[in-house]
């Protein structure tokens, strides 16, 4: 089992005719991902990587039954593309590009909540369900089917964690890049709960970072979870970040250091790790 995408998912690519879109479509196909088509407005009727290109997501869904979409488009087109996918019935949207305007992501989130769609990113490396599907830009070298899930704000950290899990024989169920942008399509808490519902996932490694609010939100769900949660936070040695004005402090509370975040997560029941090598040690102790 896996979360959000597996070998049966029907994947489409928005921006499939662009340079990055085409390159990664071929890579994802090479991995065995079930890509059924793509969309580029105005280029309907073309063929990329032997897959049909449509003008609109609606047409692609009608013709192919796509239920997952990966977006490879310039940041300024992401808002419309994501909303188009959501409204056309896509249930999982992966926003690869970075620097999505924050207000745009707020619009996307409103639609996602309304339609019950999961969006990850912007600025995510994507999702990989080892041996089944690779959505986005992750290198396949680090991944192997197994029993630990990962969710991280950073693509590079995802690779290192998977690399570690693979090398030590645990392997991965699904690995999710939450995304590096300041406002993200999903929160750690939401992805953790998806892993909680996945029987095959015995533990989840969540890798946060200094800044933002998503790690703190995770503390609300970890105590309710049966699945073990291992937590890493980047920026333990960085000075505390700066809040935006008084308003930021009033809305999001005092800014903690990365260490504060790690402590909060530990208090909520997560198992803190400082380097990647702590991960297999901890899993071993937990009997995973």
């Amino acid at each position: 089992m896996a979360i959000l995408c597996d070998k049966n998912s029907k994947v489409m690519v928005q921006g499939i005719t662009g340079g990055a879109g085409k390159f990664h479509t071929e890579r994802m196909l090479a991995y065995g991902t079930n890509i059924v088509g793509g969309v580029t407005p105005g280029k309907g009727g073309q063929v990329v990587a032997e897959r049909p290109v449509f003008d609109t997501v609606y047409e692609c869904v009608q013709a192919t039954g796509a239920d997952v979409s990966v977006i490879f488009l310039p940041a300024k087109f992401v808002k419309e593309a994501a909303i188009e996918a959501i409204r056309a019935g896509i249930k999982f949207v992966v926003v690869i590009p970075e620097h999505i305007p924050i207000h745009d992501m707020l619009y996307v989130r409103e639609e996602a909540v309304k339609y019950g769609t999961t969006v990850i990113g912007g600025n995510t490396a994507g999702l990989i369900t080892p041996g089944e599907a690779n959505l986005g830009i992750m290198p396949d070298i680090a991944f192997q089917p197994g029993r630990v899930g990962t969710v991280s704000r950073s693509g590079s950290i995802t690779y290192y964690v998977a690399d570690t899990l693979t090398r030590t024989g645990y392997g991965e169920t699904s690995c999710i890049g939450l995304g590096g942008d300041p406002v993200l399509g999903s929160t750690f808490a939401e992805i953790l709960m998806k892993f909680e519902e996945d029987e095959k996932t015995k533990a989840v490694v969540m890798c946060g970072e200094i800044g933002g609010v998503y790690e703190e939100l995770a503390c609300e769900v970890i105590p309710k979870m049966k699945t073990h949660v291992l937590a890493m936070i980047g920026g333990l040695y960085a000075p505390p970040g700066k809040r935006m004005g008084h308003a930021g402090a009033i809305v999001e509370g005092k800014m903690g250091t990365a260490q504060d975040k790690l402590n909060m997560l530990a208090n909520a029941g997560a198992h803190p790790c400082k380097t990647f090598l702590d991960i297999p040690d901890t899993l071993k102790k937990l009997g995973v």
Binding site: A20, H24, R27, K76, I96, E98, H99, I100, P101, I102, H103, D104, L106, Y107, E110, V113, N123, A125, I137, M138, P139, I141, S152, R153, S154, G155, S156, I157, Y159, Y160, D163, T164, P182, V183, T187, C207, E209, G212, V213, E216, L217, G234, G235, L236, Y237, A238, K242, M244, G245, H246, A247, G248, I250, V251, E252, A258, K274, T275, F276, L277
Partner: protein
């Protein structure tokens, strides 16, 4: 992108949020001239991209032009939290009856805009929020919803604006939110919003941050002389150089040059260096899918930094390609040359091609690789970090 107070107030004016008739000056003479023309007692406000300006002595009063010149001379010598004062905003001195707080920001946990208002404005608003949360009123607004005047009127009353000015206060709230949405703001704060002794509501300060990622749709910001700039503060020469090259880069006070792939490992790699007893000389982010030229420039920044004793490289090819990475390193080695020891690890997307490029180049010119140790997926990244710390220690000794 944070705006200076005077820039924020230009935006306010555009949205009819009341501000005082003001002047901006950069020299004591300009200040003298401006205050002569205004011919009233004034307040001189240092323009810096940081808070705490009042407590640091950055705000002064002057009765006339001569006094203003003297005060300006002092202010223009000030450094506030490391930021030199280069511009002064000159406004009429007004008698204040009440200070309110009004701010709009984004609640990232709830994915909503939030209006925050309080009858207790001024520098201690955060303390108020902590100790007397009932003195703070909040109103969440969805991005795709308008704020109606009735909502704003209720807020204006709840923040204690007197009945006869409540409609005016409501209009300011609606306009601030309109501005926030129109210009892709991350923060728009009026602190304080003052009620003057003669019964006017005026935005006495302006703190506005806009979303850098959305400036493409606001070309008109240029008319307000609002330029793209660092979030806070001035840059070091190397940071300026990096910014020109489009590379996110910050100087730190250690001696290990950090040459990571991705912002995530940029942060955590620094932790690892600390963890193994070293100190990074910088933070850097390659950005997604860097070109060989960009890779080369990243190395130039590190090699030319005299504080850097050794370089710690890591490349996990995702959207980036290891062949591009290898090509970039070669450009650097050929055009610039490496003067420090470097250890790196390369794996991921196109890594075999990257290795092939390196090995071919090494065969041709082994000397060029003299200071380079490179590893693949078989070595845990922690080992690379450890080795970088060792190299720096050896070089520093």
């Amino acid at each position: 992108m944070r705006l200076y107070e005077f820039e924020g107030k230009e935006l306010f004016k555009k949205f009819k949020i009341p501000v005082m008739e003001a002047r901006v000056a950069s020299t004591p003479d300009e200040v003298y001239k401006a205050v002569s023309e205004m011919n009233i007692p004034v307040v001189l406000k240092s323009q810096v991209l940081t808070g705490g300006r009042g407590k640091a002595g950055g705000i002064k009063f002057a009765e006339g032009a001569n006094e203003a010149r003297t005060v300006a001379e002092e202010l223009l010598k000030l450094e506030i939290k490391g930021y030199p004062v280069e511009k002064i905003l000159i406004e009429p001195k007004v008698a204040i009856k009440q200070e309110y707080y009004l701010g709009v920001t984004i609640d990232r946990a709830k994915y909503k805009l939030v209006i925050i208002a309080s009858g207790d404005g001024g520098v201690d608003i955060e303390e108020t929020a902590e100790k007397n949360p009932d003195k703070i009123v909040k109103k969440e607004v969805s991005i795709n919803e308008d704020l109606y005047t009735f909502d704003a009127l209720l807020l204006a009353k709840q923040m204690g604006i007197p009945q006869e000015l409540a409609k005016e206060g409501a209009a300011i709230i609606v306009r601030l939110l309109t501005m926030f949405k129109k210009y892709d703001a991350k923060l728009a704060e009026i602190n304080p919003l003052v009620l003057t002794a003669d019964g006017q509501l005026i935005a006495a300060d302006a703190r506005v941050s806009l979303d850098d990622d959305a400036t493409f749709r606001h070309p008109d910001l240029a008319d307000l002389n609002v330029e793209h700039r660092h979030e806070e503060g001035e840059m070091t020469p190397r940071e300026k150089q990096a910014t020109e090259w489009g590379i996110p880069y910050l100087d730190l006070d250690g001696n290990i040059g950090m040459f990571p792939g991705g912002a995530g490992f940029g942060i955590m790699g620094n932790d690892f260096v600390h963890h193994f007893g070293g100190k990074p000389a910088n933070f850097m982010d390659s950005g997604g899918g860097p070109s060989p030229e960009r890779i080369a420039k990243m190395l130039v920044l590190l090699d030319e930094n005299p504080n850097v004793k050794a370089i710690f490289g890591a490349r996990f090819g995702g959207i980036s390609r290891c062949d591009d990475f290898a090509k970039g390193v070669l450009i650097f080695l050929n055009e610039h040359g490496l003067s420090k020891p470097m250890v790196f690890r390369m794996t991921g997307n196109m890594w075999q091609e990257g290795v092939r490029i390196f090995e071919e180049a090494k065969k041709e010119n082994p000397a060029m690789f003299e200071h380079i140790e490179f590893h693949g997926i078989e070595t845990p990244i922690e080992e690379i970090a450890k080795r970088a710390v060792e190299l720096a220690e050896e070089a520093g000794a």
